[in-house]
Every structure is written in structure tokens, then in C-alpha cells.
Amino acid sequence: MVIKQIKRVQIPGILLSIGIFTFVLMAVTALLTHSSSLNITDIWTDAYYRHITVFSFYQAFLSTLLSVVLAIPISHALSRREFWGKTLLLKLFATTLVLPTLVAVFGLLAIYGNSGLLASFFAYFNLKLPFSIFGLNGILLAHVFFNLPFACRLFLQALGSIPDKQHQLAIHLGLKNWYKFRFVEWPYIRGQLPHIAGLIFMLCFTSFATVMALGGGPKSTTIELAIYQAIKFDFDLQVGALLALWQICLCAVLAVFIQKISGSVLLSSNFHSTKNTFIHDSVFSRCWDFSWIILTGLLVLPPLFMVLISGINFKFFVVLSDINFWYAFKNSLLIAFFAGLIAVCCAFFILLASRQWRLIGLNGRADKIEMLATIILVTPGLVISTGLFLLLREFGSLSAMSLYIVIAVNALMALPFALKSLAQPMLQNAQKYELLCASLGIFSLNRFYWVEWKSLRKPILQALCLSFVLSIGDLSAIALFGSHSFSTLPLYLFQLLGSYQMESAAVVALVLLVLSVGVFIVVESVFKEKVVKVKE
């Protein structure tokens, strides 16, 4: 008999998931019902909203196409070649997706901007920069910067999962370069293609901070940005909510479509690169591979490098002795820390519930409860924070609540990522130890400490880091509440960029970069020490 009843350990997670879903629903409803001056046909027939819908699709399509198509030869080259600094490069690849958007935008501006490195190079020859980074150009550049390395890593994983035997077989059959790619490697890439492309498309489609910083006017506006403008500029809350629902619908249709055209794909969670002993080498293929690798290097490294070097300038100590900087710094740390903590705790409880169902084969139920909690992925943070404030505004002033609201919304936005990174390890733990714990009577706190915490410390802390970095770079939850007296580092950076204080902005960008990368490095080094201790 399948045990149908819900176990006690599942109750908090189930309540949390339902709570989160209701919460999102209530926030959107609060916006929709705020005042009743609405005319849906007006919006439907509005040329501007049609334009931004088309533009959202257009830019997301181009961004995805560029990221994915370029990622194929690059990941292929990376899978075949070993070179100095490859590990570091791949580590950097892993960080671009979670890097605070504005830090990357700053790095890109420092190179491709009107007064950037490239422009001064052109000016040296008395030439003008042939393109402007503001508008579609900049949006595409930034999206490729974020997503190309991400796609590369995923493709590399797919290529890494090709068994050695198949490489040997390819050699045995004399399959070289193109034919080997066509018959051995391409099938593995193709399996991942819909998922990767779909995910990247979704991320670009709902892109906010990038478009806000580099859009350069109403012409290049996405739905996500229009939601922000409707709420903040026009105070048209209903339009904001309707646009949010419109975006959720489009994303849902897209998600279903991707599910349909691709079967379920299992990626081995361990990332291991293929041994490069099985390739037919030639001068041409060497050149081919290394030109791709150098090309990516040129895309990814200079902006980060520019953030580093331009951050150390004569304004460094001026910024560091500015009280406003420290206020923003304090707010950012508080928000990121608590949002991260809440996100990981919620993820933990929700997974306790879902893995219990997975253990007894009720995968559908487990998927649903996890899905409820990830709905925020396509709901703009600004809509949630505004709705939440409208619900709570009877109880206090905006400035008193904004910190807590921003923490709550950031926690929600980090939750899907925390869920994703904890799901596999927690399920494995249950599969291994569920019966053993039952027979030894290890429950609740004992179970948490001796079984989950002791073995999952690393993934838990990694999830915490991920949530922390996502929250520290977020601009969308804070966007409504930010004022010059309540800001976070990204908002402060945005204000500095806006008022053209490039040197100060550079310092803040550097601090953000160091914070985001630093957190990962610290956690990783803590675990390195642990490993050494074990061996003693």
C-alpha cells in the first residue's frame, strides 16, 4: 500500500508553498484592485504596449540566438583543449550569471561606452565609435555576456557526459572533426538545446536591470521595464499588474512549449571534463578551437578586469568615507544575509515535503509543490513588493517597512535558485538514509544535525551563497522603495551612474564585485580546510 497520508515532517513545507503562492496571488490582486479606472481594451490596442511586447520577444530571441549559437563551438573547443587558466576561466563562467547586473553593466560601459576604452582607442585615430552601447546593441551585448558563459558550462556538462567508450569508438571508426561532432557530440548537445535556450530566453525576456541601465529610452523597453514604469512613473498599478499577468502567461506558454518539444533530460550532476586524449589533432583544428577560446576570453574577461582596475582610483577613499555608501553597504548586507537565510530555510522545508513524496513515487505532487514555490521566477519583483506594501500600508509607513519588504521579496526571488541547488543532494540523502533513520529513531533536530547538516553543509552553504549574491545584486525589489535615504549598493551604483559620477560608481562596482565573488571564495576555502582535516 502506498502511504497516502501526509507525514508530519511535510507539513511546514506544504504550508510554506501554499503560503508563498497565496502571497504572490494576493500581491498581484492588491495591485489589480487598487482603483478601478481600468479599460482593458485600451491596453490591448495600445501601440506602445504592442511595441514593447514585440521588442521583448525580439531582443530575447536575438540574445538567445547569439548566446546559444556561439556557445556551441566554444564549449566544443573547451571540451577538447587543456590550457593554463582553464579552471579559473570556467569558474568565472559560473559567476557571470549571478554577478550583480549593474557591475557587469559598469564593466561593459567602461569598455564599449562613449567614454570607454574602445572609444578612446578610436579617438586616438580621430575616429568616432561606430556604435552606441545604449539601446539594442547594449542590451544584446550584456545578455550575451551573462548567458554565453552559462550556456557554455551547460553544454560542457553535456559533452562531458559522453562515455569514454564512445570517444574510443569514434577513433576506431575514423570519425574526424566534423563527422565526430555530427555523429557523437551533436546528439548530446541537441538533447540540452531546448532547455538551455528556453532558460536563457526566459531570463532575457524578463530582464530588468540591464534594460533599465542600457536601454536608453522608450524605444528599447521590455515588458518587465514597462511594468516598472507603469507603477513608478504613471502610478498605474493596474496596468502594472496586467502587464505582469501578460508576462506570466507568455512565459507559461513558452515553458509548456519547451516541455513538449523536449523529453526529460538527465544531466549528471558531477561536472567532469572529458579527457582530451581522443582527438584527431591538426593545425587547423587547433587554430579553430583556440580562436573560439580567445574570443570568449575577450568577451568575458575585459569587463571584469575593467571593474577591478577602474575601481581603484582617486575617489576610492572619498567613497569609502561617505556615510551614504556605508548606509547602502549596511542595507545590502542585511538584505542579502536575511534574504539568503530565509530563502534557504524555505527551500529546505519545501524539499523536506517534496522529497518525501518522491521517495514513494509521487513525483507529480513533488513537482507541483516545488512549482508553486518557483512562480516568483516569472513574476516581477516590483509587482510583489508594491502589492505587499499596498496590503501592509495600513500598518505602518513605507520607510519603516521597506527594509523588511525588500528582504521578503528578495528571499522569494532567490528561492527558486536555492530550491534547484538543494533538491538533488537532499533527495539523495533521503534515498540513502530514510530507512536507516527510521530504524534508529533519528528524528527532527537529531536528524537535521547528524544527518542533513553534517552531510549537506556544503550544498546548504553554497545555496546560501547563491541566494546572498543574487540578493545583493538585486535592483528590482528595491526599485520602488529606494530613495536617497534608503538605498542598497546596486541602487547607489545606479544613482551614481545616472548622475554620471563614473569614478565613484567604479568604486562601488568594485566593492560589489569583491563582495559577490568573495563570498564564494570564502566558503570554498572553508571547505578546503575541512577536507584536509578529514585526511589527518
Binding site: H51, F233, L333, E394, S483
Partner: protein, 334 residues
Amino acid sequence: MKKKITALITFATLIAMPALAASPTPEKLTVYTYSSFASEWGPGPKIEAAFEKSCQCDLEFIALDDGVTILNRLRLEGKSSEADILLGLDDSLMATAKKTGLLDKHNIDLSAVNVENGWKDNTFVPFDYGYFAFIYNSEKLKNPPKSLKELVEQRDDLNIIYQDPRTSTPGLGLMLWMKSVYGEKANEAWKNLAAKTVTVTKGWSEAYNMFLNGEADMVLSYTTSPAYHIIAEGKEQYVAASFSEGHYRQTEVAAIVKSSQHKKLATQFMNFMLSDSFQSQIATGNWMYPVTDVLLPTEFDQLTLPVKTLSFPSKEVAKNRKAWTREWLISLTD
């Protein structure tokens, strides 16, 4: 040094919980205003000091991006707003702001106010005014356009920066200016202007800073802006272009919030606003014209005065703002 110490203290309280216990403080008056008014180079700090000396209270400016943002913030917060006073809306927003029902009537003696056509409004009190204008660097630009039509229709050699009419009062001002000059044909005019636009910024500060950094030939600001360069920097090259169609006038106003718990103090501030100690800060602090007869610095004599003043009644703006903004948006995206 003092700043460094305060920074260190903040750093030390980093780990402390967000809600710090409030110690008993004197009565606090919260004023929402725009960032350039409250900034250290704006008139805010001096006005704060002068008022606090006379009232035994704590005056706090909450700096928001621009005039429209101030209004939207109040609408979002509704009756639970902390604001006692909104300072920095302008005449074109008055009718919209009144309609929210969140503002209170004042009973301030307006006899000192000296503006064109007088001032009779019972909700809003004006504190300064000015005329929108495009500013250029006369050392770089030798033949500035003589009219708005020349700029829009003929001068393809120029590029400009202006502000978003949805977020910023100067941006809204330009929209009304274009509307008063072009009327029904504004759509075409916006398209022409779009070709010369470097970027549309959210607020005045961003636009003006970009202009000073050489990102554009002209920027939308006020006829009084050159006074800043003359008085504060001793630079004479920044000039407001005089347009033959006339310039759109902006009167900046303040109002008391209905839900304020400090009405008495708020009224005191509104009266203070029309006093000499406030008004004398306007010309060289906010770089606008004061609304009372305080003495102006002599350098203001050098400024271009508009040949003709353009203005829409606030009610008409309230009625058409959404449609006109939409017209602007669509002509930019087509």
C-alpha cells in the same frame, strides 16, 4: 574627519538589527522633495538649518528623484504616508495632485507672493519659478537655434538630452512646451526631435551632468541655470538659448499632506517658505527665481528673459497628460 568617524560608527552598527531604538527627539517635520533641492549643493541644507533654528524641531528632507516621483510616492503610501509636506511639485501637476484627495488646504497669507497673474490657489503655495530653456556651451556652439521650430525641424547638426515627461517636471515642461508650439502636430515634431536625442533621462540631475560631461550639445534646463556657472564657477560660456516662440513657465509649489500629524509645524514651514530667509536661498541655491520681492544677485541681470511666457492651465494638463505622454511614447517607438 567627522565624516570618517560617522562612517566608522555606521560600519560598527552593521551587525545591529535594522530597527534601531528611537531616542526621544524633538517634533519632526518630514518633507518630500527632489534630490537636487535636498543635496549638499542645493538650497536644502541651509534652509534646514535656518528653519530648525526658529522652530526647535527636526526638519527632514526625503530626497526623491523628481517632482512626479514625489507625487507618486504619496499616492502609493496613501493615508499612511510619513510626509507632512510635499515640496517640489509644479503648477502643471497641481490638478492631478489635488484629485488624489491626499492634500490639505492651507491658510497662508499669500500677499507677499509676486508672480505673473497673481496666486490664488488654496492648496498649493509657490516657492519659486523659472522658464524652461535649452542650455548650450557658447564656446563649442557658435550658432544656437533661435526658435524651438529651428531646433526641431532644421538643426540636424545638434544633439540634445532631455528628461522623461513621466518622471520629471522639466520633461513634462518640454512636453507642454512642444504642445503649446506644435499643438496637433506634436507627433511629427517629437519624431524629428528623437533623431537628435542622445538619451532621455529620468531626472534633471542626470541630464545636466551628462551635458556638462560633453555628451550632448544642448540640454533641457532653465533660463536661470547659467547663473550657477557665473556665480558659483565664474564661467560665462554656458548660455540659455532664447526661442522666439516664447518659453514655458514652471512654478514650483509645496502643499501640506492631509494625514500629517504635525499640521501646526507644517503651516509654520509654509509661512517660513515665503519669508526672506527661505526666498533668499532660491536664486543661488535652487537657481530659480524667488516668488517674493527679495533682492536678486546682479548676475541674474545677464540672463535671457523670455520674450513671451507660455503656460497651460493645470486642469487642462491633468486632463490631457496621459494622452500627451502616450503620444510622446508612441512617436518615439514607431
